[in-house]
Amino acid sequence: MSGNESKFSSELVAKVNELWKRYPHKKAALIPAMHLIQAERDGWFSDETVADTAALFGLPDMHVRGVVGFYDMFHSEPVGRHVVRLCKTLSCKLRGADGLIQHVNERYGVKNGETTQDGCFTFKHFECLGHCANAPMMLVDDEKHLDLTADKLDSVLGGLS
């Protein structure tokens, strides 16, 4: 598919073209490509984005929709400018994740899955994020913040724009 046919930026289409070369079947590049697409489309998959993705890959819409629904990192609803993922699994829980969740609920007024009123960030409880020896921890977009305390958390979230 050439750039002009696609509804995506030409940079994105070029990157997807590169991804396709890595696999014997284009479909395999779907999930890597969906990360790029989600980033270009404000962090979530609207019905339109699902359709555009399906068209780019020559797949049924339903396939893409099913993939969005399966993976926790893909969103089917709008999100804030940032996504905050706080680990709540055992090692983090043992080191105070519950308290941090409560702190976020109270201080920022957002529960699991909600977005702050100013649209700054969407807060998500996540299952084990693989940094158990530095618990508790969170990811803010792609950046990780380890050995969290409420103060540390505030300084990170406070610095978001």
Binding site: P60, D61, M62, H63, R65, G66, G69, F70
Partner: protein
């Protein structure tokens, strides 16, 4: 060791010799043992997700699913022992914890595998004390299929059918785990011309037919094996009737014709059967007339028109037996112009046939010619016309060029003699489907007890025209008589045609 592609194994103590390469469910079926299954279907890919077909294979530690276990020589399978029963009971309980148990209002009741297996394999008690998961009910997937997410057991048969057989890939699963739920593409409406097959495939009541919804409890219905007459494919079906009205059709397995499937068009092609406007008594000169009166009037009309010529137009919805009866009448009258009408439409690579009537081949077999695109402007003394269903009609000007008219029709038709037609679910008979396959239709109902079938009516007319003629007393005998006379049918019997049909024994060019 067994040979030529067969293996011998033991299932629940029974020895079975079965073809190599089949799975334990199919092997067990061959020796009369039913291994319960939901997700497995012989024509769909094996996904092994329902887990209800668990079996014990001697020498294998874990229980194995019968659907994904291929038979091996010397294999010892146990499908019912205590361990298997306990685990299967567990699977049944898991399936039911979030199931609404609304059987009293469910159309599937009576044909529900969840009900069946829960009785056979369940414990009968529930220990689940929490609120059942709430999911959407009564979702319209277009004008044919209705979806109930709470009843769905996520076997994915419907997903796989549309993907692998119909090729439209319209359903997917959204979310995962216990939140998993089926969703339909785009505006949520299915588009496949085969979508209603997923209603049959659904082992529970999650997918129901809008057409059939709440019409009847299945145990009050009568089921008759016959064929779909919407096109030349002749998909094998079971017609469901109650109180002499047709309620539904579902496909009947025939590996040589339609496998397990049929088109929606065929399935829904029966409204005319129940039409309240059908005529149930002949008319002569526009006035109701009992059959003997109407027939002697027809005799007079036709004999009086012999010199000016008679046009006979048959219908490709007629059975062979009717067509041969009509042929007899034509022979007795010396009719030369014998035609039949055949509606044409779109076809596809799966089952939908472009000939939109079931028996053009039978018409040709009985010596009727395809109706010309352009009728000549010839005038006739009389028309003997068996009117096809709504899709096609004899052009009005052709009818007008015939001075007198004897017309068989479902609903009232202007004519000198009008005789009621019966539909294919009201009679026994045979048709020749695509691929020159002779198939039976069978009587499942009578629309009105007073109605006579066309074969009987035509035979009586024939006797009036030629007192030496004696018609066959039943369609079966009529078929036999036809088979004895016609080389293409030579050697076939009603029984050899049976439920699955038989090829014409010679390659006759009937297509």
């Amino acid at each position: 060791m067994s040979d030529n592609g067969h293996v011998t194994l033991t299932i629940d103590g029974k020895e079975a010799t079965v073809p190599a390469g089949i799975n334990v469910i199919e092997a067990a079926k061959q020796v009369g043992i039913e291994v319960p299954h939901y997700c497995y279907h012989p024509r769909l890919s094996v996904v092994g997700n329902c887990r209800v077909c668990l079996c014990e294979i001697e020498g294998v530690g874990q229980l194995q699913i019968g659907c994904n276990t291929l038979v091996r020589d010397g294999m010892v399978v146990n499908t019912t022992n205590e361990r298997v029963s306990r685990m299967r009971e567990g699977v049944m309980e898991f399936l039911l914890i979030n199931h609404p148990l609304d059987c009293t209002i469910c159309d599937q009741a009576g044909e529900c595998k969840l009900q069946d297996y829960a009785v056979d394999h369940g414990s009968g008690i529930t220990r689940f004390e929490f609120d059942k998961g709430k999911k959407p009910k009564n979702i319209s997937w277009g004008d044919r299929v209705v979806f109930d997410a709470e009843r769905c057991i996520l076997c994915t048969r419907c997903v796989r059918f549309l993907d692998e057989i119909a090729g439209t890939d319209e359903i997917s699963i959204d979310h995962r785990g216990e939140k998993s739920q089926l969703v339909v593409r785009g505006d949520g409406k299915l588009t496949s011309p085969y979508q209603m097959n997923i209603i049959d495939l659904c082992p529970v009541g999650a997918l129901t037919s809008r057409d059939f919804r709440f019409k009847s409890r299945v145990w009050f219905m009568k089921f008759t094996p016959t064929i779909d007459t919407s096109d030349a494919r002749g998909c094998n079906v079971v017609a469901g009737t109650r109180d002499n009205r047709m309620l539904r059709m579902v496909p009947r397995y025939n590996p040589n014709v339609n496998d397990y499937w049929m088109s929606d068009h065929g399935r829904l092609h029966y409204a005319f059967v129940n039409d309240e406007d059908r005529i149930v008594m002949p008319t002569a000169g526009g006035k109701p007339a009992p059959y003997p009166v109407a027939l002697s009037r027809a005799q007079a009309v036709l004999e009086g028109a012999r010199d000016e010529g008679i046009l006979c137009v048959a219908s490709s919805y007629m059975t062979n037996e009717e067509l041969f009866a009509l042929k007899g009448v034509c022979d007795a009258l010396g009719v030369e112009d014998r035609y039949f009408l055949l509606p044409m439409g779109e076809g596809d690579d799966l089952l939908i046939h472009p000939e939109k009537a079931p028996n053009a081949r039978g018409c040709r077999l009985a010596g009727f010619r395809d109706a010309p695109d352009d009728w000549s402007s010839q005038e006739f003394g009389a028309l003997l016309y068996v009117k096809p269903r709504e899709l096609i009609e004899l052009p009005a000007e052709v009818i007008e060029r015939c001075k007198k008219k004897v017309v068989f029709s479902l609903t009232k038709h202007a004519s000198d003699v009008n005789i009621p037609l019966t539909t294919w679910v009201e009679k026994d008979g045979t048709m020749v489907s695509a691929g020159d396959r002779v198939q039976c239709v069978r009587q499942g109902m009578v629309y009105e007890p007073t109605l006579l079938t066309e074969r009987v009516v035509l035979d009586r007319l024939h006797t009036l025209l030629d007192p030496a003629f004696k018609g066959a007393s039943t369609a079966v005998l009529a078929f036999q008589r036809m088979a004895d006379e016609h080389p293409a049918l030579d050697g076939l019997t009603w029984l050899s045609v049976g439920l699955l049909g038989a090829k014409l024994n010679k390659a006759e060019a009937l297509a």
